[in-house]
């Protein structure tokens, strides 16, 4: 049975990669890229980050991906209906504000329209938005717009959106890790958990924990695997190994 599932998964990946001749883009998070079938996000697709609450770090991870997508000098469009986006924070993430267009729509309808227009534009490298509500119909339109224009759509959604239907090709839940009573020795950065809810043929994979370096912004494994275990491909659980 497992063999059949693997075959189906390969077939699905092949079909999807036939449809999308676009390149894959580094997500800004190496541990996450290892999980993704294409080792990154696909151009011309939507990526949904579901924030586990205010202050969860979902937008930060989305910005890292946007920065990666715009590395070749591409244009970034930010659709900010709530008008809470803070440019100095984005500049601290080394986002190129010179190539960033901020759209401040008044209502939901204008927000969705602006998103669709930006995703359709072939010369827009990435679009970031924080839509609160997206109907299935609108989501599908956005997915088609991204496919048409070849842009990467990065949508940061509230926690309530987890139970809604989604047309994103990658869907993740981002929640920060609670700080233990006795913290791990040497832990310096911000530890955040990413659970891949959906990605191509993958469903319900094990959540990963990443650490965002406070100084450099580098996103790395929170519990790096020993090299031998990496090479062997079957790594023991580091927490059990220490115990």
């Amino acid at each position: 049975m497992n063999h059949k599932i693997l075959q189906l998964r390969e077939l699905l990946n092949r079909k999807e990669s036939e449809k999308k001749p676009y390149q894959s883009i580094f997500s800004g998070c190496l541990p996450l890229d290892r999980l993704l079938p294409q080792r990154g996000f696909q151009q011309g697709s939507l990526v949904e980050w579901i924030a586990g609450g205010a202050g969860s770090g979902a937008s930060l991870l989305a910005m890292q991906a946007a920065r990666s997508a715009c590395r070749g000098g591409g244009t970034l469009v930010l659709v900010d209906r709530a008008q809470s986006f803070y440019p100095p924070g984005a500049a601290a993430c080394q986002l190129d504000l010179q190539n960033t267009i901020v759209v401040l729509p008044a209502g939901e309808q204008d927000e969705c329209w602006a998103l669709e227009q930006a995703l359709r534009c072939p010369d827009v490298a990435a679009v970031v938005a924080w839509p609160q509500r997206l109907t299935s119909h609108t989501f599908r339109r956005l997915q088609l717009a991204a496919e048409h224009g070849g842009s990467l759509g990065l949508l940061v959604r509230p926690a309530a959106a987890r139970n809604e239907s989604s047309w994103a090709s990658v869907r993740m839940l981002v929640s920060p890790s609670p700080r233990a009573e006795s913290p791990r020795v040497g832990r310096q950065g911000w530890q955040v958990g990413i659970e891949l809810l959906r990605c191509g043929g993958l469903f319900g994979t094990k959540p990963i924990e990443v650490e965002i370096d406070d100084q450099t912004g580098e996103v790395r494994d929170a519990y790096p695997r020993p090299l031998a275990a990496q090479l062997a491909g079957t790594a023991p659980d580091p927490r059990k190994a220490r115990a």
Partner: protein, 477 residues
């Protein structure tokens, strides 16, 4: 001018030099470069009474009008009389102007900015007569006034001015004895170009500001028309005609103004702006259709007029033979996207971020509309002095007072309540003290903390030193 200077001039301080809130408050408006530029263009059109060729200097910000008065002075009774009339006319408009008169654009600019400073009366400015092949002694004789002016009068970039000053070259005349090839090797072609333009060795063109009526098209109906389809068809034809007029002069429109005269009602007007100058009838037609869809015409239309109120030279970009997929900075597709979004959402909704060096977080940036500018995007410094997690990605428009909080013995927050949830702080960074200057009417004195809760969430909170209350200002989303 800076706010502090304005307050000092309007006598907003008490006897001890502190801001006084009892005196009549000064009305403060934020600087709008777009409106400023528009007003200057209107002034340029008004100056057609002195010259048929009036333009704006290519500088940022634009603050100089260029008038070609070749052969015109005798009509006004001589150069001095012309100078006097210009100054008086501006004074009647409540505008103070410094006039420079010379036979080159560069020299006139230099005189207006550096020779006429401090002179309230129209001054007898000597016209500089040079020829393109003048030798050095002849130049010194003819341009003695210009050569005594500082280096800044050559309109050079600040970096070149600073280098020249450090080398002891402070006057324009100091450059003439130096070998030209060495100047070019050391400072690039810009220095020699400006010097030659000032001395008349290289021509400089004034880009004329056309009066709006030059790019106006109109359609008068025999009978009033109410059908939308006919109105749209007429507008499309008018746009094509207007674009043809613009293209003949190598210009594109930055703003179109529409006026639909109704039968027994006030005329209906609307405007369409562009991010880059455009003479593409198709593109302008689509932007117009978006505005027309929202227009409700209560009466039949008797005439339609379209005027290009702002226009600029069209930029030509040659396509490369082996064009790769990399996105160009000034992509026409992105420009078209900006125009469409501005057409539907409004000019103020499509903006770019400009960082400002202000300690107060709310004022550390501003938004500038992309549509309606001069068509060029000046590169601003976007280098942030902060590391990655010093500033949040989301800032609340107004800080929210924390419902309850507990403070540790060292003054740092240990617990707080926000959004109905209790948060316990496990780690914090700070305090980072942010204080604004005494001249700010509503200054702030805050101690900011980045906090990480036991659940792993991160927030940006501060204690106001004025009233010791705690506020949440942002979240590290």
């Amino acid at each position: 001018m800076p706010l502090a200077e304005a307050m000092a001039l309007s006598n907003q301080y008490d006897g001890l030099g502190r801001p006084s809130y009892k005196k009549p408050r000064l009305h403060i408006e934020p600087y709008d470069s777009f409106e400023d530029h528009k007003a200057l263009e209107e002034l340029a059109v008004w100056c057609h009474q002195f010259s048929p060729l009036v333009g704006l200097a290519e500088e940022e910000p634009v603050e100089t009008l260029l008038l070609d008065v070749t052969g015109i002075a005798p009509l006004f009774g001589g150069e001095q009389a012309l100078n006097h009339q210009i100054t008086t006319a501006f004074r009647q408009q409540s505008l103070i102007v410094q006039v420079g008169l010379a036979n080159t654009v560069g020299a006139a600019w230099a005189l207006a900015h550096y020779f006429s400073v401090g002179r309230n009366e129209p001054c007898a400015v000597p016209a500089i007569k040079t020829s393109s092949d003048s030798s050095l002694p002849e130049l010194r004789g003819a341009c003695s006034g210009l050569l005594e002016l500082p280096i800044e009068a050559l309109r050079l970039p600040p970096a070149i001015v600073e280098t020249l000053t450090r080398l002891g070259l402070e006057r324009i005349g100091d450059l003439l004895p130096l070998p030209r090839n060495e100047l070019k090797a050391r400072f690039g072609a810009a220095l020699l170009q400006r010097l030659d333009q000032a001395l008349g060795k290289q021509p400089e063109i004034i880009s004329q500001i056309q009066s709006p009526s030059d790019f106006t098209v109109e359609w008068l109906f025999e009978h009033p028309i109410a059908q939308q389809s006919i109105i749209q068809q007429v507008i499309r034809q008018l746009i094509e005609r207007l674009c043809f007029m613009l293209l003949k002069q190598g210009k594109g429109s930055l703003q179109l103004s529409y006026r639909l005269t109704l039968l027994d009602h006030q005329p209906a007007t609307f405007e369409v702006g562009c991010f880059r100058p455009s003479a593409d009838a198709n593109h302008l037609g689509k932007l117009t259709e978006m505005q027309l869809e929202r227009l409700v015409l209560r009466e039949p239309v008797t005439s339609i007029a379209i005027c290009s109120t702002r226009h600029a030279r069209l930029s030509q970009q040659q396509k490369e033979l082996f064009d790769d997929d990399s996105i160009r900075r000034d992509s026409p597709l992105v420009a078209s996207l900006i125009d469409r979004m501005a057409g539907r959402l409004g000019r103020q909704a499509i903006v770019r971020c400009v960082l400002q060096s202000d300690a107060q977080p709310e004022k550390a940036y501003r938004y500038e509309p992309l549509v309606g500018g001069s068509g060029s995007r000046k590169r601003n410094s976007n280098r942030s002095p902060f590391s990655l997690l010093d500033r949040p990605l989301h800032l609340l428009a107004k800080p929210v007072a924390l419902e309850s909080y507990t403070v540790a013995s060292n003054g740092s927050p240990s617990q707080f309540q926000y959004g109905g949830e209790q948060h316990t702080v496990s780690r914090h960074w700070g305090p980072e003290r942010i204080e604004t200057g005494w001249w700010r009417q509503r200054g702030v004195r805050r101690d900011y903390y980045r906090v990480e809760t036991t659940q792993g969430f991160r927030f940006w909170i501060f204690r106001s030193l004025q009233d010791e209350r705690w506020f949440l200002h942002g979240a590290f989303e």
